[in-house]
Symmetry: C2
Subunit: 283 residues, 2 copies
Amino acid sequence: MHDTTNWVTEVYSKDGSALSLTGATKLHEEQSPFQRIEIYDTAAFGKLMVLDGCFMVTDRENFLYHEMMTHPALYTHPDPKTVCIIGGGDCGSLKEVLKHPEVKRAVQIEIDERVTRVAEQYFPDLCTANDDPRAELKFIDGLKWVKDAEPGSVDIIIVDSTDPVGPAEGLFNEAFYRDCHRALGDNGILVQQSESPLFHLELQASIHGHMRNAGFGQTRTLFFPQFIYPTGWWSATLAGKGDLHNFRRDDALNKPYATEYYNADIHQAAFAMPEFFKRRLAK
Amino acid sequence: MHDTTNWVTEVYSKDGSALSLTGATKLHEEQSPFQRIEIYDTAAFGKLMVLDGCFMVTDRENFLYHEMMTHPALYTHPDPKTVCIIGGGDCGSLKEVLKHPEVKRAVQIEIDERVTRVAEQYFPDLCTANDDPRAELKFIDGLKWVKDAEPGSVDIIIVDSTDPVGPAEGLFNEAFYRDCHRALGDNGILVQQSESPLFHLELQASIHGHMRNAGFGQTRTLFFPQFIYPTGWWSATLAGKGDLHNFRRDDALNKPYATEYYNADIHQAAFAMPEFFKRRLAK
């Protein structure tokens, strides 16, 4: 038996496993109108945000997720001027998006303002772009915002949501993707965080199906490591009105900012499909 | 607090984290002359082998490690006839190696015969190639075997070892790599499991240094997911006497056997270096 005092643990009950961070001190806990928000300080991963019991962000390794939710789509679109982030309340995706000088407007639509306020307090490094004049932070329902958006007015929609249960459930279906398709301009790209290839293969396949049915001509999944998410192996699925194989490689090679994970080679590598995934999509 | 009854847990104490598999029943436990060997049946991952407290193999996701320790090197070498596996007592790497019809001889040198005997009992799927006439199972010290091998007699050496503490410590240094260099023929390749980029970056950099100092002209690290190893993100580092950028892509595309993860695209993608890794190696 291990002494689990001061461990913070997420149990993946459907998949018979659990991840713990040790040496954890709870710094904050509240029940927002949408979910339970907890912040811990941990021995080796810095601060940790937990929403409804699910690990969301740590200081040490959030760069993987935030870089991969943003830069691949931004360097695929030929000219991304307007980007909308649905969810993303920790502001890490917003920060990465605004590293791109070609972006003129980035709208973050997080339903739960408390997530952002807590992130501003405990994850200041993720919130450094919140005051960028190109950033708009809205605390409303993303589903409704997308439905009401002027057709063709957005270049990239990034669905940086929690799992497809609770507040985020409506973000994983065809009706929402159809609204996204309408809001996106020519060459528009939708990015959906799409869970673990080991645990959620059927969900991933269904996301491809819903996106195609919603009118997107192309869909591609990219894969990346993410320790604190179930299995440590995560994905994002892109839907494109244009060609998702387009890649502004020279721009990525000459990006005017630093990254920790993403680069031009990682961009291309991330889209390689594991054999079991390829077989499932071919069905 | 979570009810941790029937959890089997590995604590990554230096890195403040822990992974558990739930619904676990212990099927076997013994102290071999080299290490403590445990076998569990788990709720969602099938059988699990634990050596000295470290998770080694599960039924559900061992394919990632075994395919990536073998096929990339085998499709890089122009004509791999003789392959030697140091460690690899669960026999999973041996099985993958012997899927290649061009391999004429595969020698597995595991210091702890009990690991293999226990694997034969609890992981029969990994041991299906043990009776292949091309397979030789030796239970001796791999360090000594490599030192005594005829110069230039081996095409690929795969170091499928535990962590660089305990029985495997001597497998991570320059003297051993020099012996491997001598044992390898022209275009010979050494493959070393090389831990997690998030937790073991300095070790990985030192492996590259030791391999270069041992006489190898090229070194490359490949990356892959592996849920039950620390951080869920793992790596293997290759050292080549020939060109590690060589890739028998047509052969990989037309491989006469099934895989779960590896394919020609994954081969090329796995070598993409994360930005932080590239920066560290450039130092």
